[in-house]
Structure formats: structure tokens, C-alpha cells
């Protein structure tokens, strides 16, 4: 049992230990395996294949397990490290301590968006990007996208999602207009709503975080820890609500075989959403 803290509460030493553990995973090659795994499981809902990670009810449990795997890898380097969370409704400007020199480093520069400060700046030599979306091997950020400004989601945006009493709804994909899952995952829906919450934060950071290899930016883990915390808050707010779909879909349902019901094992870990509903034996949020 360990604690995941708000990143704004971390001491200088805690930040340094986390950064050092991340850099060690990068050196060993394990970090890039996590980036590749995320990219590999990015299956969209126009694709007639199983999709465990995105545009799907199992968005929350898949990413919970993905974070647990990453956290365990960190702990093989330093047993005292856990993944902190970033509450982007509060620490919502480029001036937040999250982006300081002693933690994740700052914004990308004008032009090529290259991050120039902090431990993940290319010039430090510790953070070469190998995922191959761009020619360049540096981490990119474009906080707030000044060319067409994006704002971070607000507490009201999050509260609206948390107040939805239903976990997810048909068609169980990126165009589900109601349900907590897609309100937080945040796909824009024509004629209904714009890009929201989870997706919008990826966009606000921009650069590497906006693309297919988003875990190339270590802020990915802090963002997703907060998403994981929001799932826990939703469960507490709706104690009688269940993960949906709670049983395999009917034979004539177009999403059968493509989305993961409560007891359908998810790749690559062969773990059921039902096995990931409660994290309190492993960690808690403080």
C-alpha cells in the first residue's frame, strides 16, 4: 500500500527521485517500451478490431493497469517512488511548478517546439525521442497552443462529468454522447460538444503529448494519474453504479468483439475490468 500524491505537494527530494527513476527507465530502454505499447493499442472505433484503450468503455481500467505497470517499473529503480497526479483544474498555467526547471521542465520554444529546460531537454542528453513521428529527437511542447488558444478544462467541466450517474452508454465508442467515460475521455461530438477533459489536456500541452507517442512526455503519467483519481471519485459519488457493459454484448451488437465488458480479459495483460475496479489495496490518493 502506497500513496499517490498531488504533484504540487511533492518535496524537492521527491521530485528529484521521481525524475531520476524516469531517466533510469529511459536509459535501460524500458521507458520506450511503454511508449510503443501505448501506440500499439491506439485502435480507433472505425477499425473493426478489439479496442481496449481508447474510444471504449475500458479506457479507465486499461489505463489504470498501464499506470500500475509503469509505477512498478519505477519502483524497481527506486522502491520509494510513486506516480503523482496533476490536478489541471488547479495548476492550470505554464507558470505552475510542474513545469519548473527542477521537475518536468518548461514549454517548448517557438518554431520547432523543442523543450529547452529541465531534465528532459534534449541538450542534457538524457531524453532522446525514438518514436519516429518527427525527424527530430527532442521532446516537443506548445503549452496552451497560442496560435489557436486552448484552455485547460475547469473544475466545472470535471464536475459535470462526475455528475453523470451512468458509466458508459451505447454505442460504447467516441460518439457516446452521455456517460461518465466519454465525458472524461472527452471526444468532440458534432452538434453536441467540443473536445473535453482528458483529450483537451493532451491538446493543451501539445507537441509530443498531442500525438500518437504521447507518453514520450513524462507529464503523461501525471495526467493519467489524475484521470484515474477522477474514476475513483465517480465511483464514490455513485456507489450503486456499475461498469458498463456489465456483460458481453448481444450477438447482433456491432460492438460485440470490439469492446470489453466487465469480465472480458483485456490485452496485453489478460486482466478483466472487474479486477481493476478497486485500487485501495494497492494505493490511495492523498
Amino acid at each position: 500500500m502506497y500513496s499517490r500524491k498531488n504533484q504540487s505537494d511533492l518535496t524537492r527530494t521527491e521530485k528529484k527521485r521521481l525524475v531520476d527513476a524516469i531517466l533510469q527507465l529511459k536509459r535501460s530502454g524500458r521507458y520506450d517500451e511503454f511508449v510503443s505499447l501505448h501506440r500499439q493499442y491506439y485502435v480507433t472505433d472505425a477499425d473493426r478490431r478489439p479496442r481496449a484503450a481508447h474510444m471504449t468503455p475500458s479506457f479507465f481500467p486499461w489505463h489504470r493497469r498501464y499506470l500500475l505497470e509503469f509505477e512498478k517499473a519505477l519502483q524497481t529503480v527506486d522502491a520509494g517512488v510513486t506516480v503523482p497526479y496533476w490536478d489541471w483544474t488547479r495548476d492550470n498555467t505554464p507558470a505552475a511548478s510542474l513545469w519548473a526547471e527542477d521537475f518536468l521542465g518548461g514549454n517548448g520554444r517557438a518554431g520547432d517546439r523543442q523543450v529547452m529546460t529541465g531534465p528532459f531537454a534534449y541538450a542534457r542528453g538524457d531524453w532522446p525521442i525514438r518514436t519516429g513521428i518527427t525527424d527530430d529527437r527532442f521532446l516537443r511542447r506548445d503549452l496552451g497552443r497560442p496560435s489557436a488558444p486552448v484552455t485547460l478544462p475547469t473544475k466545472a467541466d470535471v464536475d459535470r462529468a462526475l455528475s453523470d450517474p451512468v458509466y458508459d452508454t451505447a454505442p460504447w465508442n467516441s460518439v457516446s454522447t452521455t456517460g461518465f467515460r466519454n465525458r472524461i475521455e472527452g471526444w468532440g461530438i458534432r452538434g453536441s460538444r467540443g473536445v473535453a477533459n482528458h483529450n483537451r489536456v493532451h491538446r493543451w500541452i501539445g507537441g509530443s503529448m498531442a500525438g500518437a507517442a504521447s507518453p514520450d512526455d513524462p507529464v503523461f503519467w501525471l495526467h493519467h494519474a489524475y484521470i484515474d483519481l477522477l474514476w475513483t471519485r465517480w465511483q464514490k459519488a455513485h456507489p450503486r453504479a456499475r461498469y458498463l457493459p456489465d456483460r458481453s454484448l448481444a450477438a447482433d451488437d456491432p460492438q460485440r468483439g470490439r469492446v470489453f465488458a466487465l469480465d472480458d480479459p483485456m490485452p496485453p495483460w489478460d486482466v478483466k475490468p472487474s479486477q481493476l475496479m478497486d485500487h485501495t489495496r494497492l494505493y490511495r490518493y492523498v
Binding site: Q40, R258, H279
Partner: protein
């Protein structure tokens, strides 16, 4: 074993295809393609991109739009913010499917390049597109997808990888 406990070692080697899925087998792409090949098909190729509205950098609070265009095949070639973007989409509509039916009824071959380098493009269930550069928002047309990628890249260049077709 406690299912919430992480397993040691790398989960899946990069480059492999996620194989496991929910119990019901999903239709395989090759089978679908074979059906499309043998059925009578209608191929539609658009003319110029002149009819496309220049909606790109919209207010993040504005819902995605463009339902009427999302089904329309495209072909464009232009210079946008100093970058040469090109794109071609060819929609293949199986005979007997109403043109207004869901996007899933239509397969699209899409090729987009920025300065000659391929931009990997995927689709959503509503027929809109997303690219490897903008993975968390989608666009009604390939032209908007390509322009948004240029905006996100700044002066960075795409990697010279193998062209991808959806």
C-alpha cells in the same frame, strides 16, 4: 495471482498486433476487403478542395462539425504556412449501401503528405479523421487534418517512414 499487480518484464514486444479480444470474434479486415472486392463497388474521387470551408482553428469549445463533408472523398494540394500538403481520399461504397449510412459502411483509402513525407491518418466512427500528430481530436476532412498537423508541428518535420494507408 493478483490481477492488479504488475507483471514483470515487457508486456508485449513493440510491433506485434494486439491479438486478444473479447469473446466474440471480430470480422477480419482481409475478409471484409475480399467481400468488397467481389461485390459491385462504386468508387468516388473528388475534384478540387475548393468547396471545402476553411474551418480549422476553431474555438476548442465548438463542437466538431462537417457531417455533410465527412463522407466526401477529397483531393488537395496546397501550400499551408510554408509547408506543402497533399491528400487523396478514395471512398469505396459497397453496392446496396445507402450513401447516408454510417461511415463504417464505407472504406476509405487515404494518403496525406506534408513536404512529401507521409502523415499517418486514422478514422473515427463518425467518419472524421485524426492523425498521428493530433491524436486527441478529429477533423471532418483530410485537408483540415493536414493543416492541423502543420500547426502542431511548427517547423518540425515528419519522419520519413513508409506511407500508411487506412
Amino acid at each position: 495471482m493478483d490481477p492488479t499487480t504488475a507483471t514483470p518484464g515487457p508486456a508485449v514486444p513493440a510491433g506485434t498486433t494486439p491479438a486478444a479480444g473479447p469473446p466474440a470474434p471480430a470480422p477480419h479486415r482481409p475478409a471484409r476487403r475480399a467481400v468488397l472486392r467481389t461485390a459491385f463497388t462504386t468508387t468516388l474521387v473528388a475534384g478540387t478542395a475548393g468547396a471545402l470551408a476553411p474551418v480549422l482553428l476553431k474555438d476548442p469549445g465548438t463542437p466538431d462539425r462537417g457531417a455533410r463533408r465527412s463522407q466526401a472523398p477529397e483531393r488537395f494540394s496546397e501550400t499551408y504556412r510554408g509547408r506543402h500538403i497533399r491528400g487523396t481520399a478514395t471512398a469505396v461504397v459497397p453496392a446496396g449501401v445507402h450513401p447516408g449510412a454510417a461511415a463504417a459502411s464505407t472504406t476509405t483509402a487515404a494518403d496525406v503528405t506534408i513536404d512529401g513525407r507521409p502523415l499517418h491518418v486514422m478514422r473515427r466512427a463518425d467518419g472524421s479523421y485524426l492523425s498521428e500528430v493530433n491524436h486527441y481530436e478529429s477533423f471532418p476532412t483530410l485537408l483540415e487534418t493536414a493543416r492541423a498537423a502543420v500547426d502542431e508541428l511548427g517547423t518540425a518535420r515528419l519522419a520519413p517512414t513508409t506511407p500508411h494507408t487506412i
